[in-house]
């Protein structure tokens, strides 16, 4: 699938984390990946922050309600997310998960 010259987006070998493609919905899982997209809703709407995280197996989204930014989270940053996942229109989604920033 990936060209041989292409580096995987991030390694998924951090102990105890699950590749995004293998995460089972409605169980507590820990994934790790790189923040590839950040979105916060306009001021007129409910404060919500949504990010997309990608690893070499797939993409997941995490939503935090009640806020427009999360300390330390920035594009390109590698993070670890722990929470209960669901599949929302085919995409792995976390609501208010725990997060940990990686160097």
């Amino acid at each position: 699938m990936f060209g041989s010259k292409k580096q995987p987006v991030v390694d998924t070998t951090i102990a105890g984390t699950t590749p995004i493609a293998d995460a089972q919905p409605r169980t507590t899982v820990t994934i790790t990946g790189q923040v590839i997209r950040m979105q916060s809703r306009p001021a007129s709407d409910l404060p919500t922050m949504v990010i997309s995280i990608k690893d070499s197996t797939g993409t997941a989204t995490a939503t935090w309600t009640g806020r427009r930014s999360m300390g330390g989270i920035a594009l390109g940053r590698r993070i670890v997310i722990t929470g209960v996942a669901t599949h929302t229109s085919g995409l792995l989604t976390f609501v208010n998960p725990e997060y940990q920033l990686l160097a």
């Binding site: 919905p25 409605r26 169980t27 409910l46 309600t65 929470g83 209960v84 669901t86 208010n96």
Partner: protein, 222 residues
């Protein structure tokens, strides 16, 4: 379907009875042993969990991990919000329904608190009363999809521009559909060539902010 009902008051009890009769697996949660036993004595098929629905442990005991629906219907709006948020955040329950006791709290019952559908009895009653007395005005009966879609009702007054028109020729906004017409107590399934009469109750499902356009098509210029 597996349904957890938090709150064994009159609303929770009624829901448990009705939904269990329809063949759903009902788990009712309350921290009042008497209230719980009242539900279960009459409905042996309902499983009861004694405990505080605002605690993760209690929801785990009720099996929220694989519940299809959680209904937070206690008489306390704060509790209902906490239960909804836990159900969504900790258990990723696909459908969370919450009861609004005080209409002034309704604005909080949205996806920020994990609520998919909120039901406010005072609001519902007001809409139904308005619907019963109003002719020639648009009444919003129900909001769906967090208020993005709504079921609207108009009883056609004799001066409505819609009278004599077919449904195809109504100048309805794009994001709307006539879902039923009630005429003399009977439901008329709307077809494109259904002609509207004075006194018809027209039910329109619409998304977005189209009330003004619906009003122009069904009520006329004000």
């Amino acid at each position: 379907m597996k349904i957890i009902i938090a709150g064994a008051g009159s609303v929770g009890r009624y829901m448990a009875e009705e939904l269990s009769k329809l063949g759903h697996d009902i788990f009712i949660v309350d921290n009042d042993a008497k209230a719980i036993s009242r539900v279960v004595t009459n409905n042996p098929r309902v499983t009861s969990i004694l405990g505080d629905g605002c605690e993760i442990d209690t929801l785990t005991k009720a099996g929220a991990q694989d519940a299809d629906v959680v209904a937070a219907v206690t008489g306390d709006d704060e509790d209902n919000l906490v239960i909804s948020l836990l159900a969504k955040q900790e258990f990723a329950v696909p459908r969370v329904v919450a009861r609004v006791n005080y209409p002034s709290n309704e604005w909080m019952f949205n996806d920020m608190w994990g609520v998919d559908v909120s039901v406010s009895t005072p609001h519902l009653l007001t809409a139904l009363v308005e619907e019963a007395v109003a002719v020639g005005s648009l009444v919003k009966l129900l909001s769906l999809e967090h208020g993005k879609a709504g079921l609207n009702e108009v009883t056609l007054a004799p001066d409505s521009p819609a009278i004599g028109s077919t449904i195809a020729n109504l100048k309805l906004p794009r994001e709307s559909a006539v879902v039923a017409v009630i005429r003399d107590g009977h439901v008329v399934v709307p077809a494109l060539d259904t002609v509207l009469h004075a006194g018809d109750e027209v039910l329109v499902l619409a998304t977005g902010d189209v009330e003004a356009e619906l009003g122009r098509a069904l009520i006329g210029p004000k």
